[in-house]
């Protein structure tokens, strides 16, 4: 496995730590951090900053009965949360988004497949499957798109992206990612807007295919 060379910008990690990154992007950040020690250390540095602020924040007295109430609850049985750990190529946060199930792939044509993990009016997060050597259709973005490679690799004008690498593209980038020859490339793609495909599928059909 090659080293991860494309990381998450610091401001985005700070926003993620603070909980102010939209849900779809938070899935991509949590997934990348699960794979990348560099970004985990950077995220934990932001947590240290948050901790310093918490230490220095003005205290407000809590109600008198609170501590006793809490101590009385310590032995109460906790509802166990489902434990979503890495499965094959999928890091924990992706497995959590899949609720522990296998991806439900839908064909988009030309061997390309997708599996939508979640979507709403604020964007979407999905898995993309692109056969080796195949181009992801030329597309621009209305907003921001984060693409995390989980298997194989792809290349575009800005460089080569292997397992664990994350590409962050804004609307200024018109790029043509091509899956490198070999294994199919499987990516996690999060966006805050519907994608506009310039070719491949007429724009009219976009709502139908949700791409």
């Amino acid at each position: 496995m090659t080293a991860i060379t494309h990381h998450i910008p610091d401001a985005m990690l700070a926003a993620y730590a603070a909980g102010n990154l939209p849900h779809h992007f938070a899935v991509a950040v949590a997934s990348h951090v699960s794979l990348c020690a560099h970004c985990r250390a950077a995220l934990e540095a932001h947590q240290a900053m948050g901790g310093a602020l918490l230490e220095a924040s003005g205290s407000v007295a809590v109600s008198g009965s609170m501590k006793a109430d809490l101590l009385a609850q310590l032995d109460a049985p906790a509802t166990p949360e489902p434990d979503y750990t890495r499965r094959g190529i999928y890091p924990g946060p992706v497995v959590a988004a899949l609720k522990g199930q296998d991806p439900k792939w839908k064909t988009l044509g030309m061997g390309v497949r997708q599996s939508i993990l979640s979507q709403d009016r604020n964007g979407s997060v999905r898995l993309l499957y692109i056969p080796g050597g195949q181009a992801v259709p030329d597309h621009g973005h209305n907003g921001l798109e984060m693409t995390l490679v989980l298997q194989g690799s792809f290349s575009d004008d800005t460089g080569r992206f292997g397992v664990g690498d994350i590409e962050i593209a804004n609307q200024d980038l018109e790029h043509t990612p091509i899956a490198d020859p070999g294994d199919a490339c499987i990516c996690l793609a999060a966006t805050d807007a519907p994608l506009r495909f310039n070719a491949f599928i007429p724009r009219l059909l976009q709502p139908l295919f949700r791409i």
Binding site: A18, N20, A37, L43, P93
Partner: protein, 186 residues
């Protein structure tokens, strides 16, 4: 030259007692230290006192239940509790579950490395000093960012704080952990 700390902070000692021995007295001490700070911190986001207390209660219960995930080689107690507080706050307000990275649990039988724990604490102390030397409006900006009141675009236009050294310290803690986990698998 600031005085070099040679002892691990009492907060870390309490947290380790909770993690390793389910020590209720140590948990009580953590509560006395953090609950009022957490309440003040959460109220900065505009929460009412009653709602803030509800979140504090939830955060402290999570601290007790997830204590096994605390690793002092990577995080100060305050940093660890900060992230729990942000996560629980959002989960409660938005009624959704925040995506979180896979946890890296320390091998419970691993010998603690006091010099690494102290180094992380010292770096955190430097951050605290750096914060107190900021102009009030700068500090307010930083506070807003870490309370989730600025978008990442807004954060990226703010001047960053010197997170470099603490980052490399945490990195060392992660490397130590990776080494340990490898040992476990063999």
């Amino acid at each position: 030259m600031p005085e070099t700390k040679t002892e691990i902070s009492e907060q870390t000692v309490w947290m380790l007692a909770v993690r390793d021995r389910k020590d209720r007295e140590a948990f009580g001490a953590l509560f006395d230290h953090f609950a009022p700070r957490l309440k003040g911190f959460i109220m900065r986001t505009g929460c009412s006192g009653a709602q803030a207390e509800e979140i504090v209660q939830d955060v402290m219960l999570t601290v007790w239940r997830k204590a096994s995930m605390f690793d002092p080689h990577r995080a100060q107690v305050s940093a660890w509790i900060y992230q729990i507080a942000r996560n629980r706050h959002i989960d409660i307000i938005r009624k959704e579950s925040r995506p979180v990275p896979e946890e890296l649990a320390e091998d419970p039988d691993a010998e603690p490395d006091a010099s690494q724990i102290l180094a992380v604490e010292q770096e955190a102390g430097k951050l605290k000093d750096a914060l107190s030397s900021l102009r009030p409006e700068q500090r307010e900006m930083i506070e807003k960012a870490y309370l989730g009141e600025l978008t990442h675009q807004e954060i990226s236009t703010q001047t960053g704080l010197p997170l470099g050294t603490i980052k490399s310290r945490i990195r060392l803690g992660l490397e130590r952990l990776r080494h340990e986990l490898k040992g476990l698998r063999e």
